[in-house]
């Protein structure tokens, strides 16, 4: 290398500034893409790895609750946990969490806001599983009106330690508002709801939320295999030995944390796209350098005649390529570093990660520098190698315009087409430089394929989501914290809140499905939705069977396609589901077209089955009014009090005479007072009237012993009134039954009345926006709270909006890479056409000399550009379908989505490429037309 080498390189770069800028720009774009995307992924993964420690993750997450049928019962979580650990010695840690809605506001505000209050069976710093980090202040102490706030929520609302806020205390009569102090700000990486997370000591939380008990039990065992195998037993144990019911349990291998895995996958996709973007700009460089050496054929020949060997010439052109690389790469890396950091922060919001301090991702920078230099060098090797091969003679023989024009089959074919001359010229010119045409087409095709493919996936995902959400015509869902009867709630709301068309009940549960293995959780747990069977389900929803369309009272279950395929059953077959230790056989009466593994049952059946009932009598606490024929005692109208007792009470009650009730044998026991008032002795029979019969009977008895609610039963024993009951000063006339018998007699279900665990709200407004739905929710909440009922709400419209936004945002981010490629493709086209203009200047001059005006020349180049674009689209269209299919396979949530290519993308891509081609062709065409003939022909 000598001074002349540098001068030549510099001279070429400087003289054709436009081309230098264009090529460097494409490398810049590629490098920015690489550095940004890889930095984002890298920083995210690193942050997650810092925040999420494998040893702190639970292996089993058990979702528990206290079924409403259990009623009021004191909970002793510590004991239950200790017992569980004793029963399963492999458990190394067990911690309970309560996560319930809390209503707070700033003191000077009018309206309360909803957040989530978290409390734990362990005191905060003692948590071993999913612990938090104290950022500022001191953990809140019990009974001190202190709470802690998660860092992200603190940032959103500008909280500081020492701030005082108002809390609604739902667990105290009258629901007072109290002022509580923020004693700490914590960072809780494991909390998905961090931006709405408050923390309080366990007992304080129960008081604030008005809800007792935990809702999640996090368990860790000696190893994951043990955890997996013990899961069901632990679930069963918990259900049977505590008042809780373990609804379902998820086993998650800490070594394969979902969030981390998901982010890593995302990072890999980003990196792949970034690198592809870089490769596309490599094509551009290839194109340009190839044109460069062709253009400079003569110069290469001259330089050879002046003593430059072939390798010295090679160095010159490789040097130009390297310079393009440097000019593009250095600003590219510098711009990519902060951009990548910003992108990491943005994605971090979605991934619930906090990327705090600015960091440079070394692998991203290294890769950016390497690719920024390597791509131009590698892209230029082949064209420069061949270009510098030209002999001096070849290089310098000027054969006028058409010297190097080769005529092939294509040209002969074009000759015969009935096209205007202009178009024939365009076609022939395109066909002439096949290599260059191929490269430009490839660049554009790659860009277009990536763009259409990625867009296809995200448009499809969004469509699926909307389809799913459209299935549900309701705009809001709420769950009351304590189970309520549907009619009560419905009446309340319809009377007091305007704008509501309908409220209807529903339930949802996780049950076990025999014979099924879920591909996601590897368990047999499935989700069942309890629906109102005479509404809201389209015929189209079913791919087989007709569900409840013909008979809303039909018994059975409707399952999703995915699940029925997995278990190999169809309409008419039976399946067995179990929950809470109970099993149920159901006929499959329909198969759903949903892309989601969900099943449906009549909500009442489901609530009944999962124990969501109210009013089921509790043994020993079951008192009801009955009438006994011919009896007159303390109460008027032959009334006595019937007492439904459990087996234990029946066995151990203090007897004055006779024997205790024995299961299976009809009979009653009466109290001492009853015996004396009615003059009864053991062995006598009494006729008892209860339940509905009580109403129909007049003040005096008219019994119809064929009724179910009347029975004639022998007295098997006389008992002494238990101490508490005597103290309570109840009327002492009691008849004791087995509680099940009493319930049957009364005609109430042993299980009680099914209650919904969710209420669906349909607004009068057919298409309200999220804010309008929020207002409705506020009104409903006010109404309920005024009646002492608390609930938590989901704004479906808001969720659907947020989900759409999230999906589209991710789609946009992924599309950034393809936008990069599209930009590079456009630059490629501009460059190719500019070079063509430059090469064909003489031609343009000749055309003008024989009378061609500017529009003719512009049109010719425009047509060439557009033809290239169309060709790229023709190839890209099928390729993008393939890419979309591949992406759908790879992406994590792709499992739920049946692959479909939104047809709208084809014309969209076509128009897009036309626009790009037109814009890219305009500048070179106009500059071609603008050259005056004298400029061109001056030094002929």
């Amino acid at each position: 290398m000598n001074r002349s080498t540098f001068r030549k390189i510099w001279g070429d770069l400087w003289t054709r500034k436009g081309r230098t800028l264009l090529v460097s720009l494409s490398i810049f774009i590629g490098v920015v893409g690489v550095v940004t995307l890889i930095t984002a992924g890298d920083l995210l993964v690193k942050q997650l790895q810092e925040d999420i420690q494998e040893s702190e993750l639970p292996m089993i997450s058990m979702f528990v609750n206290v079924p409403p049928s259990v009623g009021d019962v004191a909970l002793d979580n510590q004991t239950y946990i200790t017992d569980l650990k004793a029963a399963f010695p492999d458990i190394t840690a067990a911690e309970g969490e309560a996560n319930n809605p809390v209503y707070w506001k700033f003191t000077d505000e009018g309206r309360f806001r909803e957040a989530r209050l978290f409390s734990y069976t362990q005191f905060f710093p003692d948590k071993v599983l999913e612990p938090m980090r104290l950022v500022e202040g001191e953990y809140p102490q019990p009974g001190q009106a202190q709470i802690a706030v998660e860092q992200r929520m603190a940032e959103d609302y500008d909280f500081e330690v020492g701030d005082v806020i108002d809390l609604r205390i739902l667990g105290v009569e009258g629901i007072p508002t109290e002022q509580w102090t923020i004693s700490a700000i914590v960072f809780h990486a494991y909390n998905d709801a961090s931006s709405l997370a408050m923390y309080a000591p366990y007992d304080d939380a129960e008081m604030i939320t008005g809800i007792e008990g935990i809702n999640t039990l996090a368990l860790r065992l000696t190893d994951f295999e043990t955890a997996k195998t013990s899961r069901e037993q632990m679930q069963l144990y918990w259900t049977e030995n505590t008042p809780y019911s373990a609804l379902f349990a998820l086993a998650q291998d800490p070594a394969q944390n979902q969030a981390l895995e998901g982010t890593k996958q995302f990072q890999q996709i980003l990196s792949a796209l970034a690198i592809v973007a870089m490769l596309v700009s490599g094509f551009l460089v290839l194109n340009v350098v190839s044109n460069l050496v062709t253009e400079q054929r003569r110069q290469i020949g001259v330089m050879k005649s002046l003593g430059a060997t072939r390798s010295e010439t090679f160095v010159i052109y490789a040097g130009i390529a390297v310079s393009y690389g440097l000019i593009g790469m250095i600003p590219g890396v510098l711009a990519g570093i902060p951009l990548g950091y910003e992108m990491a922060k943005i994605i971090g919001d979605f991934a619930n990660t906090l990327i705090d301090s600015f960091e440079i991702s070394v692998p991203a920078v290294v890769l950016g520098i390497t690719l920024g230099l390597a791509v131009p060098i590698i892209s230029s090797i082949i064209p420069v190698y061949f270009g510098t091969r030209v002999s001096i003679l070849e290089a310098m023989t000027d054969l006028g315009l058409g010297g190097n024009y080769s005529i092939g089959v294509l040209n002969r074919w074009i000759k015969s087409l009935p096209l205007p001359l202009n178009l024939k010229q365009s076609f022939n010119n395109l066909v002439q430089k096949k290599a260059r045409l191929a490269l430009t087409v490839i660049t554009l095709t790659l860009a277009l394929t990536a763009f259409m493919g990625v867009s296809a996936v995200f448009v499809r995902i969004n469509d699926v989501l909307q389809e799913l959400l459209d299935q549900f015509e309701f705009q809001a869902i709420f769950e009351t914290t304590e189970s309520q009867e549907f009619e009560v709630i419905e009446a309340l709301i319809m009377e007091n809140v305007a704008g509501i068309k309908e409220v209807y009940p529903g339930s949802g549960s996780i049950v076990q499905l025999e014979g099924y293995v879920s591909p996601q959780s590897e368990t047999n747990q499935v989700m069942v939705m309890g629906v109102v069977t005479d509404r809201g389900i389209d015929e189209d929803t079913f791919s087989e069977g007709r569900g409840w369309l013909d008979d809303p009272d039909r018994k059975g279950i409707v399952m999703s396609k995915e699940i029925t395929k997995e278990i190999g059953k169809t309409v008419g077959d039976f399946v067995t589901i179990s929950a809470n230790g109970q099993s149920l056989d159901l006929e499959i009466i329909g198969i759903l077209n949903f892309p989601y593994p969900i099943n449906m049952m009549n909500w009442k059946d489901l609530s009944q089955f999962t124990g969501f009932t109210l009013g089921a009598p509790t043994p020993d606490q079951y008192f009801t009014a009955i009438a006994v024929e011919d009896y007159s005692g303390t109460l008027p109208a032959s009334r006595m009090t019937a007492w439904g007792i459990g087996a234990q009470t029946a066995a151990y009650i203090e007897l004055l005479d006779g024997a205790p009730l024995s299961p299976g044998k009809p009979g009653v026991m009466i109290s001492e007072a009853a015996a004396s008032n009615g003059d009864y002795a053991v062995g006598d029979e009494i006729t008892v009237v209860a339940g509905a019969c009580l109403e129909t009977a007049a003040a005096t008895l008219v019994s119809d012993s064929t009724d179910d609610c009347t029975a004639t039963l022998p007295i098997v024993g006389i008992f002494a009134l238990p101490a508490q009951m005597a103290e309570a000063q109840l009327p002492p006339d009691l008849v004791a039954f087995f509680w099940q018998d009493l319930a049957t007699l009364e005609g109430i279900s042993l299980e009680g009345k099914p209650v919904p665990n969710a209420f669906y709200v349909l607004s009068e407004d057919v298409d309200p926006n999220a804010r309008e739905v929020d207002e409705l929710i506020d009104q409903i909440n006010d109404t309920l709270v005024d009646h002492g009922i608390t609930a938590s709400f989901i704004n479906m419209v808001e969720i659907s909006d947020m989900a759409s936004d999230a999906i589209l945002s991710i789609g946009i981010i992924l599309n950034l890479a393809s936008l990069v490629m599209a930009a590079v493709g456009a630059i490629g086209l501009i460059t190719t056409l500019s070079i063509a203009v430059f090469e064909r200047q003489k031609e343009i001059g000749v055309m003008r000399s024989v009378g061609a005006k500017s529009p003719t020349i512009i049109v010719q180049f425009l047509v060439e550009g557009v033809l290239v674009g169309i060709l790229a689209w023709i190839i890209a269209a099928p390729l993008s379908v393939g890419l979309a299919w591949a992406l759908t396979e790879i992406l994590p949530f792709g499992d739920f989505i049946e692959f479909a290519y939104p047809p709208i993308l084809l014309p969209f891509g076509f128009i897009g490429i036309l626009i790009i081609a037109t814009i890219s062709s305009v500048w070179p065409s106009v500059s071609a037309a603008r050259k005056t003939v004298s400029d061109i022909l001056r030094y002929q």
């Binding site: 315009l401 058409g402 024009y405 005529i407 000749v846 000399s849 009378g851 005006k853 003939v933 004298s934």
Partner: protein
């Protein structure tokens, strides 16, 4: 005015980095219809610039240019191109046929631009090719025919719109002597039919056969009596 070409006090100055180039320094030039003129002079003398004034490819810095009844002096590029297509047939030294069109398509091209002979362009093109004895290669691409044939095709193209004026810039420069002779005979024929021909040439023998020779030197026209023999070459 009865002159086909009239240049009055035409000056052309180019501005380049570092100064001005005075290509034409005040030229008065007239050519009547039916004349056959040869322009001679060394490179840089301004004869190419002069030719460019006549064809409208370039415009004067000062002075007036009238050709075929049209004042070219301040015309826009597009209008000049359109005018030129109908009024001037240009024959270049290096033929300059468009390689992406066949010989016949090249001849049709000026008709397309000027919008003439609509409906019978092919017919006319074949007539012209017949005139220059090229009918059997009409369907071939320029790279498939010889230099002499290309030049003849270029002449046929120049005649496409039946222009009154034909301008040639070293039209025989790249031909062997036999072809050159044939070409010249064709030019004489065209002049005899009433066309006006202005030709730039180095070839002394050729210039000798042309009725009127005009020397250009240093941006000025010389009196015909001062024609410098050294500028011409014996063939």
């Amino acid at each position: 005015m009865d002159k086909l070409i009239s240049l009055q006090a035409v000056q052309k100055t180019y501005k380049i980095k570092g100064g001005l180039i005075h290509a034409l320094r005040g030229v008065d030039f007239e050519v009547a219809q039916g004349e056959f003129v040869a322009l001679v002079g060394p490179s840089g003398s301004g004869k190419s610039t002069l030719i460019n004034m006549i064809t409208g490819i370039d415009r004067p810095t000062k002075g007036e240019v009238y050709v075929a009844g049209q004042r070219l002096t301040h015309m826009g590029e597009d209008r000049v191109a359109g005018w030129r297509g109908k009024n001037v047939g240009v024959v270049f030294q290096f033929f300059q046929l468009l390689p992406s069109l066949t010989v016949m398509e090249n001849v049709i091209m000026p008709m397309t631009y000027a919008g003439t002979y609509s409906g019978r362009r092919q017919e006319r093109a074949l007539e012209l090719l017949d005139l220059v004895d090229l009918v059997d290669v009409a369907d071939k691409y320029p790279s498939q025919v010889s230099g002499g044939q290309q030049q003849r095709a270029a002449i046929a193209r120049a005649l496409a719109n039946d222009p009154p004026l034909i301008v040639g810039d070293e039209p025989t420069g790249n031909l062997d002597s036999v072809s050159a002779g044939l070409m010249f005979a064709l030019f004489e024929d065209l002049v005899a039919q009433g066309k006006t021909m202005v030709m730039v040439t180095h070839d002394k023998d050729l210039a000798g056969k042309v009725p009127r020779v005009q020397e250009v030197r240093d941006g000025l026209l010389l009196d015909s009596s001062e024609v410098d023999d050294r500028l011409l070459v014996r063939a």
